[in-house]
Structures are given as structure tokens and as C-alpha cells.
Symmetry: C2
Subunit: 116 residues, 2 copies
């Protein structure tokens, strides 16, 4: 069974080097050699990461220019973010609870202060 | 090297069964047996998925009740969504380009319509 698109996206993102490559490509397209520079990694190792990103549709490589620049493609990220959106109410509820707790704490401190 | 938190989160999400478990837990805490029911999977297989989710901090298991209910913890999802947020401008730019393209197309169709 071929993995579904969302699984491929998340699997590709589950690596700090691959996320760093995406961050680099966010500032513009670049060649593989340039991409490899900041990582203390062999060119084949970087190429392997690029292949994972390419299969997940997160980067595209131009077939026109001879230096075949890599470019970020954010469409899979949008789908992943859309999936995450359904859980927003949970983390926002956590923040609401924290706010309520802090409000109560403040209120108690005020009462305590008055008694002194 | 232990994987960083963001990598653990994405690796845990890179599986349709684990995402389905999270979706189920979004509607309330439940026991492992109940969780396993909709999946045509052995209990040990489901337990394995739960362990991955637990290690990634996406679920917690109560130590109080004897049936040890599982509960969703959305904090890692918030961090993952925050990471994704930095790429929003890329997918929104894509949508802007599409809108502009459709506007041009409409404009051309109007011109064409007038000529007839």
C-alpha cells in the first residue's frame, strides 16, 4: 500500500535536516551544492533528503536550467496545516484554562494583600 | 541522538491509524479496548500505535482509573502548527496567483464576448 499524501508529508517533515532545507528554500530557489554547504554532510546524503522531500511534493526541481534549482512547494504544508486546524480548539482551550487560573491567582493575591 | 520534539511529533502523525486514534480522542477520553474497536487490528498492534503517540506527548494515559483512559494532548500539535505558520505566506501567495489568473481569464472572456 502506498502511503497516503498526509503521511508522506509528515514523514518528510520528521527530520531536522529536511526542515532546515525547507527553511533555506523559503528564501529562494537554489542549487543542490549551495543547499548542501551549511550542512556537514556529503552531497549524496543531502541528495537522499531532497528525494524524500521531492516525493512528498514539498520541493520541485526545475528541468529547464542545467543547474536544476530546487524550489519550495508549500501545497502539502497547506494540507497538513488544514488537518491540524481541527485540533486548534484543544490547544486554545488549554490557553483559556491557563488564563482563568492566572486570573484566579491574581484575585486571591489581591484578597490576601487586603488582609495584611 | 534522541530525536527532537518536532521530529517525534511529525513521525507520530505520519500514520493514518494514529491520526484516526487522535480524531477519536478529540471527542473524549476512552479506554484502549474501545479505541481498538473500529480498527481491524489486534490489541497489541493498537497498543504499539498508542505508545508512539504517548512518547510524542500527543496522548496521556491516566494512572488513576483502573481502565487507564487515553486522552488527547494537543500541545505538540500547537508547536507543529506554529512551525507550519512560517510557510503560510507561500501557500497564500499561490492562492493569490490563482485568483489573479482567474480574474484575467474572466476579463478576457468578457472582451471575447463583446466581440461576438
Amino acid at each position: 500500500m502506498s502511503p497516503d499524501r498526509l503521511s508522506s508529508t509528515f514523514a518528510a517533515l520528521a527530520d531536522p535536516t529536511r526542515r532546515a532545507i525547507l527553511a533555506r528554500l523559503a528564501s529562494g530557489e537554489t542549487s543542490v551544492t549551495e543547499l548542501a554547504e551549511p550542512f556537514e554532510m556529503s552531497l549524496p546524503a543531502v541528495t537522499k533528503h531532497l528525494k524524500v522531500l521531492e516525493r512528498a511534493g514539498l520541493i520541485t526541481r526545475s528541468r529547464e536550467a542545467q543547474w536544476r534549482p530546487c524550489r519550495l512547494d508549500a501545497k502539502p504544508l497547506k494540507r497538513a496545516a488544514d488537518w491540524m486546524e481541527q485540533y486548534r480548539r484543544f490547544w486554545e482551550r488549554n490557553l483559556d484554562n491557563l488564563e482563568e487560573y492566572l486570573r484566579k491567582l491574581q484575585h486571591q493575591e489581591k484578597k490576601h494583600g487586603r488582609k495584611k
